[in-house]
Symmetry: C2
Subunit: 568 residues, 2 copies
C-alpha cells in the first residue's frame, strides 16, 4: 500500500494551529482563500497518491545510473516528474510574472511534504529547483531572470546547488573553485564539487548549476565567495539549450538511501557562467535560499515519517501474533506496539505543526516585512529542520521495529524509509549545525525572539486552562523551564552553549510540539487523546534534555581524543 | 582503519566494576585466574584485530549467495572462520569433556563482543553454534552429545536455530511444522522455516539444525512443541557426514544489513531428525538457550557500537572543518562533535558493564546454583539485550552523523554499522518483547530481584559519597526514583505495565549504567570525567522515561487504528 498524502491533517493545522488565516488576510497573499487552499491540497494529494507514491520502491531498487556522461533516471520517474511540472507544482510560491502561482510558501511547504512522503528521491529535484528559483528572484539581474525563471518554473529545466567540495563541507569558506572573467561579462568556472543532488538528469532539457566559486580578487574564507549560474547547455539567442558547457558528471555516489536521486561529483573545467548577485556576495545569496531549503528538508523528514507511520500502522492492523486481549486481533492491539504508533503519531503532528508555523512566519515576513516575523522565521527554521528530520529518522526506525523481522527485509519497504530519511539530518546543514545556529545566531538578539515565542506558548497554555487544566498546566510549566534554560544558556560562553545546543533544540521542539497539540485539542476535543500522548509521554523528556543542555563543555574537553576512541 | 578490540576496557570492568574475582573464587571456575583472563582477552583481541576485522567490509559488499542449493560465503570468511574455530573460540565456555575450554561464560561474552565489533555477520555463525552447544549440553541424550558436541565445539560442523515460520514470529506457539515418528527412534520433520541465520554454509562439512516442530500428539500453542536435531548430512556409522537429509535452502533474504550472514528460508520435507529433550518440552530447551543468546545479541550491539565509535572518533580527529578554538584541529575540537563522541563513549561503557554483569550472574548461577544469582541473571538479561542493541544502533547512527555527508556514502563504512546493528533490536526477541519480559516475568517475584539490585546501587552510591559526593548523590536519587517507579508498576494491571515497559527498561539501564560508571570512577579517578558525562548528561533522561512508563495504557487505546495512520 502506498501512503496517502496528509492533506486533512495539514489543513487542520493551517486552520486551527498556526493561524494561516493571518497570511490570507495580507494584501500580498489575498488569493490564498480557503477555496484555493482546498484546491491546492486536494489536487496535490491526488497527484501524490496516484502518480508519485507508486514510484518510490522502484527508484530504490533501480538507482539512477551514469551512462556515457548522462544520468538516467529510475524507471517511472519521467511520469512522476511530468505530473509535478505540468501541474505547476514547482512554482507554487514562485512569482506569477515568470509563470509561478504566487501563493504563500506555506502552501508550497504542504505540497512538498506530500511529495516527500510519496517519493523523497524524486521530490529532491523540484525542491532544488525551487531553491534556485528563489535565489534568482532575489539576486539575479533581469536578463538572467527572464532567461531562466520561466523554464525553471515550468520544469522544462531544473536547478542544482553546487557548494560542497571534498575539503569544504560544513566549512563552505574553505572552497577552492575559481572563476576568472572572460572579458565579455561571463566567467570561466573551474573546480570540483561533490554531493550535487540531481547534478544531471534525462528528465529535463537543461540543468542549471548555481556554483559557488572565488573570483581572482576574492578574499579567503566566506567573504570572498561569489555565485555563478553555469548551465549544462549554454542558451542560444532564442534562449534554447545550445552548445554544451565545459562541465561533466564524474561519477555518482553509492549511498545508504535516496537511490533514485543521483548524487553527483561534478567537474567544471573553465565552464562558462554568469554572476548572480554582487561579486563576493555569494554566501548572502546562498543563505537567502538555504533558510527556506532548511525548512523544506525538515518537511522532508515529516513527509517520510508520515509515510513510514502509515505503513507500520497498516502492517500492525493486519499482522496477527498471539492474543492481544483487546478489540484488535492484529499486533496493534498489543500495548507496546500501540505505544510506538501513538507516540510516533503525536511526534509527526508536532513536527508538521512546527514546520507549518515556520512557513507561516516566512510568509508573514514576506507580506509585512515586519522584523518580528523575520525573527520568528529565523528562529523556527533550525528547529523545524532538525526536529522534522529527526522525526523522519526516528519514526522510520520505529516503523522498521513494528515490522519485526520483516522490517529488516528490503522487499517490505520499511527499511527504505529509514535509509532515505537518514540523509535529511545531514544535508542542508547538519542537525548539529542547526542547533548551533539556534543557540548562536538565533539567540543573538538577547533571546528576544525566543522569549516572545515562549511567552506565546505560556499565554496559549493559560488560555487553555479552563478546558484542559492538566495538559495546559504541564505545557505552561515546560515553557517556563525552557525560559529559564534559555536565560541560563545566554549567560554561558559560546563553547558551553554549543555543548548543549542539540538537547536544547530538542527541548524547544518538544515544548512547541506540546503547544501545537494543546491548540489542536482546544479546537477539536477529538484531538485530546493524541495531545495527551504528546504532553504526558513525550514532553517530559524536556527536563532531562535541559539538564544535558546546561552541563557546559568542560566535562567534554576533560576527555582526550584517545579517551573517546581515537587511536592514541 | 579497522577497530581495535576493547580488551582493556573489558578487563577493567571485570576487575573493578562487576567483580569477576567472585567467579574465579568458585570451585567451578577456579581456572579463570587473572593470568588466564589476560591470555584469553589478549589472544582473542589479536585474532579479531588481525584476521577478522579486515573482513567486515567485504562481506557487506559481496553478500553470501545461493549457488545450486549451497550457500557460498563472502570472500575471506573462510580465513576468519578458521581462525575462530582453530583458536578454540567457539568453545570458550563449553564442557572440556567435549573439547571446550570450560571457562566462565563471562569470558566467552568478552570474546563474542570483540568478534561482533570485528565482523558481525561472521560472528553470528559461531554464536548460533554456541547456542546449540548449550542446548545439547543441557537437554540432549548422551548419544547425541557424543556425536555432535565435539564437532560443533571444534567448528568442523556448525549449528542453527529453526524457530520462525511465516505466521509465527514473536508468537512461536503458532508454528505449524510437524514431526512424525519413523519407528526407529528418529522422526520425519516437515515444514518451512524463515529467517534462519547461517542456514547453510560452505565453511563447514555439516550444518546441524535444531528445529522446533509439533509431534502428532502435541497440544496447540507453545506447550505442544518439541525440539529436534536435523543435520544437513546424516552422520554415518563413524560419525562422519553421510547421506544428504531431505532439507534444502529455498532462498536467501535481501536484507538491510549483515549481508555476509546468509538468512535462509529452509524447507524440511520429511527430514530425519532426533528428539532433543523430552517430547513437548521444546520451548523449555529453547529458553535455556535463548536466555544466553539474548545476552549474546546485546553484546553484539555493544561490539558494533565500539567499532562505530572508534571509526567516528578517528574521522573526527582527521577531518578539519573550520577553526575549533581548541587544542584539536579536527572536528573533534568542536563542542557538538565532542559531545556526540563523549556521550556515545559513556553509553558504550554502560552497556558493556551491564552485559558483563549479566554474564557474571549467569556464571555465579552456574557455579553456585544460588536462586538469587539465577534471578539476577534473569533480570539483567532483557536489560542487557535491549539496552546493548539500542546502544549499537544509536551509536552507529551517531557515527554516521559525525561523518557528515561521507557517512551517507557506503564506501565510508559508517553506514554499514548502522545497517548491521539494526537487526539486533529485532531478533532473539524484539526489544519490545524484552521490555515486556522485564515488567512481566522478571518482576513476577513481587519485584524482589529488582529491588535487591536497586538496593545494591543505592548502597554503592552511599559508599561513593565521600569521594564523589555530587555524582554519587545523583545516582542514589535516580535509584530511589526507579524504586518508586517499580513499586508503581507492580500495582498496575498488565496492559498498563506493558504500555510503559520500554521506557521503564531504558530508565533501569540508565541507572545501572550510572552505577557502573560510579564504580569505575571510584576505582580509577581518571575515569571520573566519563562518569560525569554519564551521570550529568545521560542519566537525567531517566525521570522523563519514568513519567512515560507510568502513564498507563488508557490513552493509547483512546486512539483508533485510523487515528494512528491505518486505513480507516
Amino acid at each position: 500500500m502506498s501512503p496517502r498524502a496528509p492533506a486533512a491533517d495539514q489543513r487542520f493545522i493551517l486552520d486551527h494551529v498556526v493561524g494561516f488565516a493571518e497570511v490570507a488576510a495580507t494584501d500580498r497573499f489575498a488569493e490564498a482563500t480557503p477555496d484555493t487552499v482546498t484546491a491546492i491540497l486536494t489536487e496535490a494529494a491526488r497527484m501524490c497518491d496516484d502518480v508519485v507514491a507508486p514510484l518510490n520502491r522502484d527508484g530504490d531498487k533501480h538507482p539512477a545510473r551514469l551512462e556515457n556522461g548522462i544520468v538516467r533516471s529510475s524507471s517511472g520517474y519521467d511520469r512522476g516528474y511530468r505530473a509535478i511540472s505540468e501541474g505547476g507544482w514547482i512554482g507554487v510560491s514562485a512569482a506569477p510574472e515568470w509563470g509561478g502561482m504566487g501563493l504563500p510558501h506555506t502552501l508550497a511547504t504542504c505540497v512538498n511534504e506530500m511529495l516527500s512522503g510519496a517519493c523523497l528521491s524524486l521530490q529532491l529535484k523540484p525542491l532544488l529547483t525551487q531553491g534556485q528559483i528563489e535565489a534568482l528572484e532575489h539576486h539575479a539581474d533581469d536578463a538572467i531572470k527572464a532567461l531562466y525563471l520561466p523554464k525553471l518554473i515550468s520544469g522544462e529545466w531544473s536547478g542544482t546547488m553546487n557548494l560542497t567540495e571534498p575539503q569544504a563541507g560544513s566549512d563552505v569558506g574553505a572552497l577552492k573553485s575559481k572563476a576568472e572573467p572572460n572579458g565579455d561579462g561571463s566567467y570561466a568556472v573551474t573546480g570540483q564539487k561533490i554531493f550535487i543532488t540531481w547534478g544531471d538528469s534525462d528528465l529535463v532539457s537543461n540543468v542549471c548549476h548555481l556554483v559557488l566559486a572565488r573570483l581572482p580578487d576574492g578574499a579567503p574564507g566566506t567573504r570572498g565567495i561569489s555565485l555563478f549560474m553555469v548551465p549544462k547547455y549554454l542558451p542560444d539567442a532564442a534562449g534554447n539549450p545550445g552548445v554544451a558547457n565545459s562541465l561533466r558528471v564524474v561519477s555518482l555516489e553509492h549511498k545508504l538511501g535516496i537511490h533514485g536521486s543521483p548524487t553527483c561529483v561534478m567537474q567544471f573545467d573553465g565552464a562558462t557562467g554568469w554572476l548572480v548577485g554582487a561579486p563576493h556576495k555569494g554566501m548572502a545569496a546562498m543563505f537567502t535560499m538555504m533558510n527556506n531549503a532548511r525548512l523544506g528538508v525538515g518537511m522532508q523528514g515529516v513527509g517520510v515519517a508520515e509515510a513510514a507511520l502509515q505503513k507500520a500502522a497498516t502492517f500492525a492492523v493486519d499482522r496477527v501474533q498471539g492474543p492481544t486481549g483487546t478489540a484488535e486481533a492484529g499486533i496493534i492491539g498489543h500495548a507496546d506496539v500501540r505505544r510506538m504508533l501513538a507516540e510516533a503519531r503525536a511526534q509527526v503532528f508536532a513536527a508538521r505543526a512546527i514546520g507549518l508555523a515556520c512557513a507561516k512566519a516566512i510568509d508573514m515576513a514576506t507580506a509585512t516585512a515586519d522584523p518580528k516575523w523575520q525573527a520568528r522565521a529565523a528562529l523556527l527554521t533550525p528547529i523545524a529542520k532538525a526536529f522534522g528530520t529527526d522525526t523522519g529518522i526516528e519514526v522510520a526506525d520505529t516503523g522498521v521495529q513494528i515490522h519485526g523481522g520483516m522490517g529488516f527485509i528490503e522487499e517490505t519497504g520499511a527499511a527504505q524509509y529509514l535509509r532515505d530519511a537518514r540523509i535529511t539530518a545531514i544535508y542542508e546543514g547538519t542537525n548539529g549545525i542547526q542547533a548551533m545556529d539556534l543557540v548562536g545566531r538565533k539567540l543573538a538578539d538577547n533571546g528576544d525572539a525566543a522569549f516572545r515565542l515562549i511567552g506565546e506558548v505560556e499565554a496559549n497554555a493559560k488560555a487553555a486552562r479552563a478546558a484542559l487544566p492538566d495538559l495546559a498546566g504541564e505545557v505552561w510549566q515546560a515553557a517556563e523551564t525552557l525560559r529559564e534554560a534559555t536565560e541560563a544558556l545566554l549567560a554561558m560562553a559560546p563553547q558551553d552553549r554549543f555543548a548543549g545546543a542539540v538537547p536544547y533544540l530538542r527541548a524547544f521542539a518538544l515544548v512547541l510540539g506540546a503547544d501545537a497539540h494543546l491548540k489542536a485539542a482546544g479546537a477539536d476535543p477529538a484531538r485530546t487523546p493524541l495531545a495527551a500522548v504528546m504532553i504526558r509521554r513525550l514532553l517530559p523528556a524536556h527536563a532531562g534534555l535541559i539538564d544535558r543542555a546546561l552541563t557546559g563543555a568542560a566535562d567534554l574537553y576533560a576527555l582526550s581524543p584517545a579517551d573517546l576512541g581515537a587511536p592514541a
